[in-house]
């Protein structure tokens, strides 16, 4: 099979997200612009231009929100429909490299990403008025990725020390620790019903964890490459994963559609060396991926 459609972009696309109505697709681009494409026309309908030194912290699909980080560590949120800046928080630190926005938009989570030292890294929960709700020690070596549960009750982070930690979003209490992973997980997301946490990374395997017990529910057969991105379809029945090849930046990788219940591979597509972002449209009929190229690839499902 082939990619069903490509939307061209003037700049390399790193992250993608559908708008809540599914009519548009936002792409965070290399040139510090976030472009919003009208899906029917394939044209840019909105361009959000980040200030110098600003970077994208979170672009959750189906939420119409973009969160950016300034060089000084301030957090800004933007409305993808209007292009307007929403809130500005002073709280984060200059090392902050990654953000997540809760589905109810009541809090944000920040981490320091790849840490430059051996000290314990912190994941922080921020109120939308800028107050810090909690800060949680999150392992040695930095946070690879994190996720917030659909009911806004849990925050999980995957550390480069190969542990996954889960905390109560209410007070930062540690509620789960997955220590049985041998290597770091680069991509992580909750199922839409919140009952499963899917993780995948350096050892090419998709793991599904029961979020009630934090025990392994099942795992899929290894991919050809490492996995750098992962998404559930809105009904939870499908998982899309994107590959990652660190050795040569020219090697194409697989983009794989799995059946959640069995791990069965339903479809395989090809992306460039690192598929950094995958997303499903709110109606589940289209999926998109970004692989650092001057286009976004669309799959009809």
């Amino acid at each position: 099979m082939a990619i069903d459609r490509k939307i061209p972009s003037d700049s390399e696309v790193r992250e993608v997200a559908f708008t809540s109505d599914g009519a548009a697709l936002a792409g965070a681009c290399q040139d510090r612009k976030v472009r919003v494409w009208d899906l029917a026309k394939g044209t840019v309908r909105q361009t959000l231009e980040l200030e110098k030194g600003d970077r994208v912290g979170a672009l959750p699909t189906g939420s119409d929100v973009l969160a950016t980080l300034t060089r000084e560590g301030q957090i800004k949120t933007w409305n993808l429909q209007t292009g307007k800046v929403g809130i500005r928080l002073p709280g984060a630190t200059p090392e902050t490299s990654d953000l997540a926005i809760s589905p109810d938009r009541r809090f944000l989570v920040s981490s320091n990403g790849t840490a430059s030292n051996g000290s314990e890294e912190m994941v922080r929960i921020w109120e939308t008025d800028g107050r810090q709700r909690a800060s949680m020690p999150a392992g040695i070596g930095g946070t690879a990725t994190f996720a917030i549960s659909p009911d806004n009750s849990m925050v999980v982070a995957s550390s480069y020390d190969a542990n996954v930690r889960a905390w109560s979003a209410r007070n930062g209490e540690l509620i789960g620790l997955i220590e049985e992973l041998p290597v770091a997980m680069f991509a992580m997301t909750f199922s839409p019903d919140g009952k499963l946490l899917a993780t995948a990374g350096a050892n090419r395997i998709v793991y599904l964890w029961d979020t009630g017990t934090w025990k392994l529910a099942r795992k899929f057969a290894p991919h050809k490459e490492m996995i750098s991105s992962l998404a559930f379809s809105p009904d939870g029945k499908l998982i899309l994963t994107g590959g990652f090849n660190v050795i040569t930046l020219k090697h194409p990788v697989d983009v794989v559609l799995h059946e959640t219940s069995t791990g069965k591979i339903l479809r395989t597509e090809t992306g460039a060396h690192r598929v950094s972002s995958v997303a499903f449209a709110p109606d589940g009929k289209i999926a998109a991926f970004a692989d650092g190229q001057k286009s976004v690839s669309l799959l009809k499902l």
Binding site: T114, A115, S116, N117, G118, S119, I140, G141, G142, A144, Y160, D161, A162, L181, P182, V183, A184, F186, G201, A202, N203, R204, M226, V246, I247, T248, L249
Partner: protein, 210 residues
């Protein structure tokens, strides 16, 4: 009874007064003290930190030989010792080491080019491996280290090679392209092994108390 701990200056002055420290250097006492303290501080500097990277794997065996017979790559011996900032040995320290193979690939399925060493009473360590390969994402040869010991701050760092073409023969200037500190770029010594030459570096580790 209160024990009065002498300051470094008081000890130094006592030693000079009692003839325990003789100076053949034409420096005043304060100059001597500051030179002495400077040298001591230099010796006690903790090993600089560097990033952990994405490819740490838990559970590496305590093995000294990281390559298998006939595996490609230029043979390399890495030796060193683990001490604290006071110069004391740290026996029982755990040294996790991992590196890419000659082609720049990390073994994520098994434990090739990975070790979890425990330092002995002498606090020395040594591994037989190969010079790590290059890869596009981080194009300088490097060996990852994660060192932990009870009572000490965990250290995450990396060793680099002064001979790496990446440093263009001038790591004093070019180390900033990759390494967090010039100290992490090590001089390579060629040594004679039965039949073949091999490379060697020393990488001593100095830990800070927790």
């Amino acid at each position: 009874m209160t024990i009065h701990r002498l300051s470094r200056r008081e000890i130094f002055e006592n030693c000079i007064t009692r003839g325990l420290l003789l100076s053949a250097i034409p420096l005043s006492q304060p100059q001597l003290l500051s030179a002495w303290q400077e040298e001591e501080a230099k010796a006690a500097k903790p090993t600089p930190k560097d990033v952990l990277g994405p490819f740490f794997k838990k559970g590496a065996p305590n093995q000294r030989v990281l390559h298998t017979a006939g595996s490609p790559g230029f043979p390399l011996r890495v030796t060193g010792k683990v001490t604290n900032t006071r110069g004391e040995k740290v026996p029982g320290a755990k040294i996790e080491i991992w590196q890419a193979d000659h082609a720049g690939l990390y073994d994520l399925e098994g434990f090739r080019y990975r070790a979890g060493l425990i330092t002995t009473e002498s606090s020395d360590y040594a591994v037989e491996t190969i010079l790590p390969g290059h890869y596009d994402d981080r194009p300088a040869q490097h060996i990852h280290y994660l060192i932990s010991a009870p009572g000490y701050r965990t250290l995450v760092t990396q060793a680099y090679f002064a001979t790496d073409p990446f440093f263009e023969g001038n790591p004093d200037k070019t180390y900033t392209k990759m390494a967090k500190s010039r100290d992490l770029v090590r001089t390579v010594t060629l040594i004679e092994a039965p039949g073949t030459p091999r490379a060697a570096i020393t990488f001593d580790i100095c830990l800070e108390k927790a």
